[in-house]
């Protein structure tokens, strides 16, 4: 079960999205559809808040990479905040910590 919320402000310079719960192979299709809808053409930076994201698998990571590609094509980026330690580890193992902009935990 996962949930995602977008800070709904068309004027804002970046798209702020909060991820919650578990993103796995069974929730992936829904996550992909919702995320890509929020990201649109990729004309804005994306900020992902992940303090309540408890689980993400490689399927979910792949979808994040897909979103990254879209914004990169417009010289924008994906910023990831408040990643839990167990998930940060997956970004590290897969090298994605050098592809996304992971904000350090405070």
């Amino acid at each position: 079960m996962f949930k995602m919320m977008m800070d709904n402000n068309a004027q804002a310079e970046r798209i702020v999205i909060t991820l919650q719960g578990e993103i796995d192979i069974s929730s992936a299709p829904e996550f992909k559809a919702e995320l890509y809808e929020m990201v649109g053409d990729g004309q804005k930076d994306i900020a992902l808040y992940c303090s309540d994201l408890s689980y993400i698998d490689s399927t979910g990571l792949g979808i994040l990479v897909g979103a990254l590609k879209r914004v990169k094509s417009h010289q924008k980026n994906v910023y990831i905040y408040q990643l839990r330690e167990n998930i940060r580890k997956l970004f590290h193992i897969t090298g994605l910590d050098r592809v996304f902009i992971l904000e350090e935990p405070v």
């Binding site: 192979i25 069974s26 997956l90 193992i93 897969t94």
Partner: protein
């Protein structure tokens, strides 16, 4: 590793729907064995990644079932995934397959795939490292 003192086997459909059930069961097993919370998370991740790869096989003749066997040791545990008539190539093919392999090898103490008609994927995690 000594002899397993117990064995638990789960036979289930090759469906995305059941991976969270496996995570639930595996966290039950791992916490019973005395793994700490972080390691339980890692085990859930590694086991799920293998399930994902098995689910990603699209056989011509519809879905199939597969087996996960857990061997419990005083020193840790071993999980074996048995997929009938699979090909190694199908299992960890492509970029996602490589990512999955990297994640599993990095989180577990050992990880191997033996294909010989059936494929058996084996991973081991020891207590206290």
């Amino acid at each position: 590793m000594n002899r397993a003192y117990d064995e638990i086997k789960i036979h289930l459909p090759q469906k995305a729907d059941y991976v969270s059930l496996i995570r639930l069961s595996v966290s039950g097993i791992a916490s019973k064995l005395g793994f700490d919370i972080d390691t339980i998370e890692d085990i859930k991740v590694a086991v799920s990644e293998v399930c994902n790869r098995i689910i990603s096989i699209k056989p011509d003749d519809g879905e199939f079932n597969y087996d996960i066997t857990f061997h419990l040791f005083e020193t840790g545990f071993k999980a074996m995934f048995t997929v009938n008539n699979a090909l190694r190539r199908q299992l960890f093919e492509g970029e996602s397959g490589e990512f999955a392999k990297a994640i599993i090898s990095s989180l577990m103490d050992s990880f191997e795939i033996t294909c010989n008609g059936d494929c058996v994927i084996t991973m081991v995690k020891n207590l206290g490292d």
